[in-house]
């Protein structure tokens, strides 16, 4: 059942992105930025955590979860260390994704010749 909800919710967020491509005629960069901001707002309203509980990877794999993780890190540190935590905590949760993407992409650029 977990897989079904991951499929439905993850697919649904991608459909939202596709509609922004096709109907609103946004560029991919505009679409992704909007989705990240939507994810951030959803977490601020307290909606994203229940969605992760419900859909698992369906909510953590789409890019909206990046916005959620940024807000989550900032607010957790805000509670633990006060106002400066907004700055220091922001990338705490989401560093795995960014670090992995930088490191793997760099290694790829070292060894691979581009195709196509």
């Amino acid at each position: 059942m977990q897989f079904v909800w991951a499929f439905v919710v993850g697919g649904g967020i991608c459909v939202l992105g596709q509609l922004m491509f096709d109907v609103l005629r946004l560029t991919p960069a505009h679409t992704m930025s909007t989705l990240v901001v939507l994810g951030a707002i959803a977490d601020a309203l307290g909606w994203y955590e229940p969605l992760i509980e419900f859909a698992g990877a369906g909510a953590t794999v789409p890019i909206t979860s990046f916005g959620n993780a940024l807000v989550h890190g900032a607010l957790t540190e805000l509670q633990n260390t006060g106002p400066i935590g907004v700055i220091t905590g922001m990338f705490k949760v989401t560093s795995a994704g960014i670090s992995a993407a930088i490191i793997f992409s760099f290694l790829a650029a070292l060894v691979v010749r581009p195709k196509g």
């Binding site: 897989f3 794999v61 940024l70 994704g97 793997f104 992409s105």
Partner: protein
């Protein structure tokens, strides 16, 4: 040039008004079915998330992690797969078909970084790879960070307690 001025008044001007051009371009544009695109995006995006769920479950039972602890290694694994497929040229072919279905998941984020790094490799490791890696992915990070900062600021100003 001379014949052109001589013929003025007889012929229609060669350049179209922007309104004419818009209708003309719309006729020539390949018909894209929004519905078919959405189905493709739904299926591809859904399958990538199912793959993520499978990896996450694997980490949870294999390394005895909780769901939140397993989320980070899962994302890193998906990014690794995405970079691998980008290097093989498979991911970009998938993206042609899937549209937002392969762009919205975190694998699309990694794909944009990896393909920018590969594309600009010829310009050098520092200026090319280092300088261009975030060319597309940068907007996501900037707007995510700014949004999170504004939300954090609102919480500070109104004294709302964090999560």
């Amino acid at each position: 040039m001379a014949t052109n001025t001589a013929g003025r008044g007889k012929f229609k001007p060669l350049s179209m008004s922007s309104k004419e051009y818009k209708t003309f371009a719309k006729q020539r544009e390949p018909a894209r079915s929004v519905f078919a695109n959405c189905v493709r995006a739904f299926v591809t995006g859904g399958l990538i998330c199912v793959l993520g769920q499978a990896i996450q479950n694997g980490y949870m039972s294999w390394l005895k992690l909780s769901a939140t602890q397993a989320a980070n290694p899962t994302v890193a694994t998906l990014i690794f797969i995405s970079v691998l497929l980008t290097c093989l040229g498979v991911y970009d072919r998938l993206a042609q078909w899937a549209g937002a279905g392969s762009a919205v998941p975190v694998t699309g984020f990694a794909n944009s970084m990896c393909s920018a790094a590969l594309e600009h490799r010829a310009e050098g490791l520092v200026l090319g790879v280092g300088g261009n890696m975030f060319k597309l992915a940068g907007s996501v990070i900037v707007y995510g960070t700014v949004a999170a900062f504004v939300i954090g600021l609102i919480h500070v100003i109104f004294g709302i307690r964090g999560h």
